[in-house]
Symmetry: C2
Subunit: 212 residues, 2 copies
């Protein structure tokens, strides 16, 4: 895996899609697949697929194609999915509750230990057996439980102060849903889900297709 | 705007961020800004900013910088935000309700007319005064109300059939949250929010930073 560091984020961002499709093939008991068949399914070109996967050592064999189970397993490893990450979420309103209810969590290896909010009406409630706690205790909880991932589903104006608490209590990865760009030290990874930007893009594409 | 068609999606995907930051500057009564200052705020290089904005005619003036209000307005136009889009949502569970409650809707010019579900326990409830209706009536509703945008927050296995209904009833844009790639005719635009892929990327980046 020595070459991994040089792999561009554009390639990395395609890996979850390969992983997802390979999982679906496994569910259908399909054991091997050519890059051309993968191309038909994913919409990427066969040469792009071969190039992408070659970055990680090239799992295919000439004339045979890819072993679906093996490739799925290897991509899972590359994506870090064999590890269990302990996570907490701050901002237990509608979006926070929807995220907490999200079924894909466990599949991706994330274990949500607790939700936090400052609203007394929410504190004490449970989402999927996960309790909503007082946000004043979030740093203590993170340290005590060695939480690795923090999720931010607060309104924009509170997001940075939550991120600061995460950083202080030694969280290393943040999944941020607030429509703002967080300022964090370099060793902290942040993955944003910016719904407003996604809507703007939809609006742009709609306009481009329909108003020419 | 003749050159717009040639603008790459990579540039387009940066525009919402410019738009958001310019909106924040406007809120602070900042009337003009240089590409260097914009660079400090957005994290893009000043030359990238100039290049990006030149694609749309170049709104800046040498020695003056950009007029914040004008640039914000023009980017809003480019993104199609001056138009009001009528939207419906199918899949009124947790995620659907969170999306329906999402405050950024109106800001992006989207008006959510109704939610749809097949669960009798949900039908008749209201989210922000927007009623949840029986999904059997979604096509009729779309045609009658000339709905332009459909939002899919159903489980994966129902997403394609919802998309098919949208296409049949002449919807032109789909905001898809289901973890699957929809098959739709070429003239329909689809913007995906794939939470599982985003989590996988977070997992990958976390692993890369912390296990070397």
């Amino acid at each position: 895996m020595e070459r991994e560091n040089k792999v561009s984020m554009a390639v990395i961002r395609r890996l979850p899609k390969y992983y997802r499709y390979l999982g679906e093939l496994l569910d259908k008991d399909i054991t091997r697949i050519s890059s051309h068949e993968l191309s038909n399914i994913t919409g990427f070109t066969a040469s792009q697929i071969r190039q992408d996967l070659n970055n990680f050592g090239g799992f295919g064999q000439q004339g045979y194609g890819y072993n679906v189970e093996e490739l799925h397993k290897q991509l899972g490893k590359i994506l870090g999915l064999e590890k269990i990450y302990k996570a907490v979420l701050v901002g237990a309103g509608n979006l926070g509750q929807a995220v907490a209810n999200y079924k894909g969590f466990e599949d991706a290896g994330f274990k949500l230990l607790a939700l936090f909010d400052k609203n007394p009406k929410l504190i004490g409630l449970k989402i999927r057996d996960i309790e909503i706690l007082d946000v004043d205790n979030v740093e203590e909880f993170i340290s005590k439980n060695e939480v690795e991932i923090g999720i931010i589903t607060t309104p924009k104006e509170h997001a940075q102060s939550v991120a600061d608490k995460f950083v202080k209590s030694n969280i290393k990865g943040i999944w941020n849903f607030a429509p703002t760009d967080l300022k964090v030290p370099e060793d902290i990874v942040v993955e944003n889900v910016h719904l407003n930007e996604s809507l703007f893009i939809l609006s742009y594409m709609y306009k481009e297709k329909n108003e020419k």
